[in-house]
């Protein structure tokens, strides 16, 4: 389905729009309240962005430093050029250890590479353990929001889903639903031999990875199984341990409107002594998958500053109406509209740079000040320049005629006169379907000028 068609379908879904309205509005209110608790919000944004810019300028160096320090602490670091390589590496780690049950905590990168499908193809059973991810996995869907994967579902829909899949009594009580998931997932945690997590930040200076969460499922995933695999995009690295402070001030506030999430796990290598707690092995898979191409120019490079807080989704007037699935990409909303075409190819996502009114709300809320509107315009230019969009021929013809007419005053006047006489309007149905085009004036200004306005205007 095209973006336009799926967006239209989403617009017709009253339940979806109710759920979205509720959630995105609440997210926005909580974010603003939490922001106010940090004395210098703007200063923190600037510092965070400066750290990201510095890192991205020397990303190769910081990645090498991170790798060396993580390995010195006992982790194994694997490099994956693309999605297939990453899936292959993780699949092999699982196979070599004879793993059967794989527990997963939230990782957008794993969604990006379709890791679950790859593991299932090897006969493994990956179980999502974040409540929201668990819900969408049970429903056979993908996440529709970076932070709240099941944001598109009402509690009634989730109750029906749990009744069907888990055999529990249907209940409208959110606590009862969460308890049902906890019970089922505890059994999976008890038998899991491999845990897969994402990474929020990776510290070059110490080789530490940091995982942020509220539920405790990421802690279980990274503590109970014998082997822990952490999957991270190359952009997750930051230079210094002390840099974590500003990001931990910005991320929870922007993401969920919390001053601090319940848990932060800072993991540096594998366990040191045999009787230490935790996994025996830590494997860190560092994923490129199209990211390094964004380093080439300053405009596209800032895409990699994103800390996946989800604030731009909640603020976006387009996302708020249609939700995440309409974007038909694991990354939805404003950041998805700029990330997806760069990761998965402009041809596959040529409509997404247009899924925006360019109002700038995303830029205003972004904790690392990514200029998403500028990126959208850059990508629109690419779509036109590389002629990958649909309806290219007519549109190009229209714009080149428009340019020709606008550049020649005589021709312009002649065309306008003809349009007035023949009462024809340009074929811009998509525009006029929702708006009225103002009728043409009976006489243009230039005609009025020549017919005497000039004399009246003279002193």
């Amino acid at each position: 389905m095209s973006f336009e068609r799926s967006a239209r379908a989403a617009l017709a879904d009253e339940q979806l729009r109710g759920a979205l309205r509720h959630a995105t509005t609440l997210f926005g209110e909580r974010r603003r309240a939490a922001m106010a608790t940090l004395p210098d919000w703007e200063g923190a944004r600037d510092r965070a962005r400066a750290i990201k810019d510095e890192t991205l300028l020397h990303l190769d160096r910081y990645l090498e430093e991170f790798t060396a320090n993580a390995e010195r602490a006992g982790a194994r670091v694997h490099w994956a050029r693309d999605a297939a390589t990453a899936c292959e590496i993780i699949g092999r780690i699982a196979a070599e250890r004879g793993a059967r049950t794989v527990v997963k905590s939230k990782s957008m990168a794993s969604e990006e590479i379709h890791l679950n499908a790859a593991l299932a193809a090897r006969g493994l059973e990956p179980v999502e353990t974040d409540l929201g991810e668990y819900i969408v996995q049970l429903a056979g869907e993908g996440p529709s929001h970076i932070v709240a994967p099941a944001i598109h579902k009402t509690r009634g829909q989730i109750a029906a889903l749990f009744a069907e899949k888990l055999g529990v009594e249907p209940s409208d009580d959110v606590a009862a639903l969460a308890a049902a998931a906890r019970q089922t997932l505890r059994r999976r945690f008890a038998e899991a031999d491999l845990g897969i997590s994402g990474v929020n930040f990776a510290v070059a200076e110490t080789g530490t990875i940091l995982i942020v969460e509220n539920e405790g499922n990421a802690r279980l995933t990274t503590t109970l199984p014998r082997t822990h695999v952490a999957l991270m995009g190359i952009e997750k690295v930051i230079p210094r341990f002390a840099d974590l402070e500003v990001f931990l001030q910005l991320l929870p506030r922007s993401g969920t409107g919390q001053r601090m999430t319940a848990y932060q796990s800072l993991l540096t290598g594998a366990k040191r002594r045999p009787d230490d707690e935790g996994p025996e092995e830590l494997h860190i898979v560092v994923l490129d998958n199209g990211r390094s191409a964004m380093l080439a120019s300053p405009v596209t490079r800032q895409t990699l500053a994103c800390i996946r807080c989800g604030a731009c989704l909640n603020a976006c007037p387009v996302y708020r109406q249609i939700g995440g699935h309409a974007y038909e990409s694991v990354y939805a909303g404003p950041i998805g509209a700029v990330l997806s075409p760069q990761l998965f190819g402009l041809a596959r996502s040529s409509e997404l740079p247009y899924a925006s009114s360019l109002c700038g709300a995303c830029r205003d809320v972004c904790p690392v000040k990514i200029d998403i509107p500028a990126l959208l315009l850059h990508l629109r230019a690419e779509v036109v320049g590389r002629r990958v969009g649909k309806g290219g021929v007519l549109e190009r013809l229209a714009f080149s005629s428009y340019a020709a007419v606008m550049a020649r005053p005589r021709l312009f006047e002649w065309v306008m006169r003809a349009a007035r006489m023949l009462r024809i309007l340009p074929p811009i149905g998509a525009w006029t379907k929702f708006r009225d085009l103002r009728p043409l004036a009976p006489q243009s200004f230039r005609e009025q000028w020549r017919a005497g306005l000039r004399d009246q205007a003279a002193p």
Binding site: A19, H22, A23, L26, A73, G74, T129, D130, L131, G132, I135, A148, P149, A150, K153, T154, R155, I158, V174, A175, L177, A178, A181, R182, L185, R186, F189, A190, T206, T208, N214, E215, G216, R219, L220, T223, L224, F241, A242, L244, E245, L248, T256, R259, M260, T261, A262, Y263, Q264, S265, L266, L267, T268, G269, A270, K271, R272, D276, E277, G278
Partner: protein
């Protein structure tokens, strides 16, 4: 780095703990800590209790008396651990501005006990409260392969953004703040 453990910082810490949904009891000396621990455990109807290897925790647990079953941490299977009612650990640091506890793996075996049982009781020395996250980050050592920051009980808002406490981690987080006797 500013004065750690000063009265202002301590007050802020206990206020923020409450705001994050944790309980806190201020205790003076080991004897009072022991009594508070027994009261706290009884308050959540905990029977099977497991403590970390921190000497203070072991001392207090062994003085608990009847009514509790002490599980040995080293010999617990996953299923036995899942059946425990409460885990008792210390925390190495507190962070006043957010009511956060900092647990370092090199200092104590507290990773699972602070996570798996439905109640987590934490002993923290009042002198170890830092003012800010930055202060705490400057103090911890990555000689610990796992440093865990804990702020309030486990929670989720994944269904209609409605807060629920106690999803995968503890539902109850109780801090016993130790003042010097």
């Amino acid at each position: 780095m500013r004065t750690q453990g000063s009265q202002g910082v301590r007050t802020r810490f206990t206020e923020e703990l409450a705001a994050a949904g944790a309980q806190c009891t201020v205790v003076c000396g080991a004897a009072e800590a022991g009594r508070a621990l027994a009261r706290t455990l009884a308050g959540v109807h905990a029977r099977r209790v497991v403590g970390s290897d921190a000497p203070l925790v072991q001392r207090l647990l062994h003085a608990l008396g009847d009514g509790f079953v002490l599980e040995p941490l080293d010999r617990l299977s996953r299923d036995e651990l899942f059946a425990c009612d409460a885990g008792v650990t210390t925390a190495q640091w507190g962070i006043a501005e957010t009511g956060t506890l900092v647990l370092e793996s090199a200092r104590e075996k507290s990773r699972l006990l602070s996570l798996v049982p439905p109640t987590h009781v934490v002993l923290l020395s009042a002198g170890c409260i830092c003012e800010s996250l930055g202060d705490a980050l400057a103090r911890v050592s990555v000689a610990s392969h796992a440093i865990t920051l804990i702020t309030g009980p486990s929670r989720t808002s994944d269904i209609e953004l409605t807060p629920v406490v106690g999803v995968h981690g503890p539902q109850t987080l109780h801090v016993l703040l130790l003042e010097e006797a």
